[in-house]
Amino acid sequence: MNDGPGFWRVVGLVAAKDLRIEWRSRVALNQVLPFAAIVMVLFAFAVDRLPRPAASATTETLLQTVAPGLVWLAMLFSLLLLVQRTFAVEADDGALDALRAAAVDAAAVFWGKTAALATQLAALYLLLLGTALVIYGAELRTSGIGLLAATWIAATLGLATVGTLYGGLAAGARGRETLLPLLLLPVVAPVLIGATRAVEAALGTGGTAVADGWPWVGVVGVFAVAFGAGGTLAFGALIDE
């Protein structure tokens, strides 16, 4: 374990390698991003016409109310595609075998892949949130920017750790395309709940206060830490033969 290059150097190399592959292939840009955008348009078709409860005194439209959750749902669907992509790249060329043969620390590989995935997810979230501002009519408020940023970091990290972990589990197995959603979606439920509530508070959806959002960032943060630790410990056992 200690014979290879240093931990952080491996993290940086793996992350840079993954991001470079993504940048050169443009799959995330040309396929995942349009996919997420069309999902958000379809959400609007699905919920726009539902009647609002008469008792609610707010003037916001239904789409404005549900916008924070819809953005995170679109993120989860995109996560599935991105995770499959990041491990398909490894499996195709036997790259994981090469990494194993190079005797690098599996935990470092895990964090490298997590960092690359988190970077892509973070960029995607900014784009999707911008889309929600435009097509759902969601509105930012300056008092919620800090909360929004904290949620953004915690949730993308949480999704990236758990995505890398379960992606590694299903990597190289037949039928992984259908298996990954079954494994991953139940696990990321806390992120969907926590990040949605936090962003609702940051945007003031339904009259929520900014202060109401911070406990939810805590939920997402605990999730990210728990699965970060889990991945550090377990990733070696998963990709090791």
Binding site: L165, L169, A170, A173, R174, G175, R176, L179, L182, L183, P186, V187, A189, P190, I193, G194, R197, P215, W216, V219, V222, F223, A226, F227, G230, A234, A237, L238, D240, E241
Partner: protein, 262 residues
């Protein structure tokens, strides 16, 4: 089967199963005794649950569903704990014994069965008591997540690869479930507590237990524990036999290949 009297169904069906394995298969004298005891337990449970125990003051007759619902839920939870412990024993012991892996897989399969039973019987009970099949209560939601998680676990066991590969993969997944389930439960509880003030009758909160009801529940737990044990022992042995057959098939294929080449 549906048309017959329930007690008959209970008495005949599993005994047919135990007779089946008498000639060959995975039965031994001990498991036949265990199976017979489980049948007696089931007959007792049906007699007490449907006959002798009184109706509840608040829930009336629907309380009878709880005598199968609560034990199956407890045994499902126990099954998943066994899966986690066996997975840990596989993963952290130097020998990496496949026996522990098969115990984990057998227990998870029986746990999924019991959890499915729990969900169905719970929905029937909820319809009678709450008026709806489903409530977004933290415990119900977590139970549904447990069910889906272990369905996924069983799917991972079926992925293929070598036995050790299967064992390592599924052991890691079973231990990750131990991480996942408390997080899901915690977040769902927070979610509900902030969004729903209406009080829900808790699944166990309002049950006034008299002596005979408590005894019936106890009979249910004994009966389900015996069924669990019988099923896990047989499933575990069947898995061992399947693995052995796999290895034998591989050996034969290798021998044939060597004969071809040499």
């Amino acid at each position: 089967m549906i048309g017959e009297h329930v007690a008959d169904t209970l008495a005949t069906e599993p005994s047919a199963a135990s007779d089946d394995v008498a000639s060959s298969g995975t039965a031994t004298r001990a498991t036949r005794l265990l199976g017979a005891a489980a049948l007696v337990g089931v007959a007792w449970l049906a007699a007490f649950g449907l006959g002798f125990s009184p109706a509840d003051r608040d829930q009336r007759e629907s309380v009878r569903i709880l005598y199968v619902h609560v034990p199956s839920a407890w045994l499902a939870y126990l099954a998943f704990v066994v899966t986690a412990v066996a997975s840990g024993l596989y993963l952290f012991r130097r020998s990496h014994a496949l026996g522990w892996d098969r115990v984990a897989g057998a227990s998870a399969e029986v746990g999924v069965l019991f959890m499915g039973i729990t969900l169905v019987s719970g929905m029937l009970w909820g319809r009678l008591t709450w008026g709806v099949f489903w409530e977004w209560d933290a415990r119900l939601t977590t139970t549904a997540f447990l069910f889906v998680t272990y369905v996924g676990y069983l799917a991972v066991r079926g992925l293929g690869g070598s036995h050790q590969q299967r064992a390592r993969r599924s052991a890691v997944l079973a231990l990750l479930a131990v991480l996942e389930i408390p997080l899901v439960h915690w977040s769902v509880r927070l979610w509900r507590s902030l969004h729903q003030e209406a009080t829900v009758l808790r699944p166990d909160g309002d049950v006034k237990m008299d002596g005979l009801m408590l005894f019936t529940l106890f009979v249910g737990i004994v009966a389900f524990t015996l069924m669990y044990a019988w099923l896990v022992v047989h499933r575990q042995r069947t898995l061992a036999a399947e693995d052995a057959a796999d290895d034998a098939g591989l050996d034969r294929a290798l021998a044939a290949r060597r004969a071809e080449v040499g």
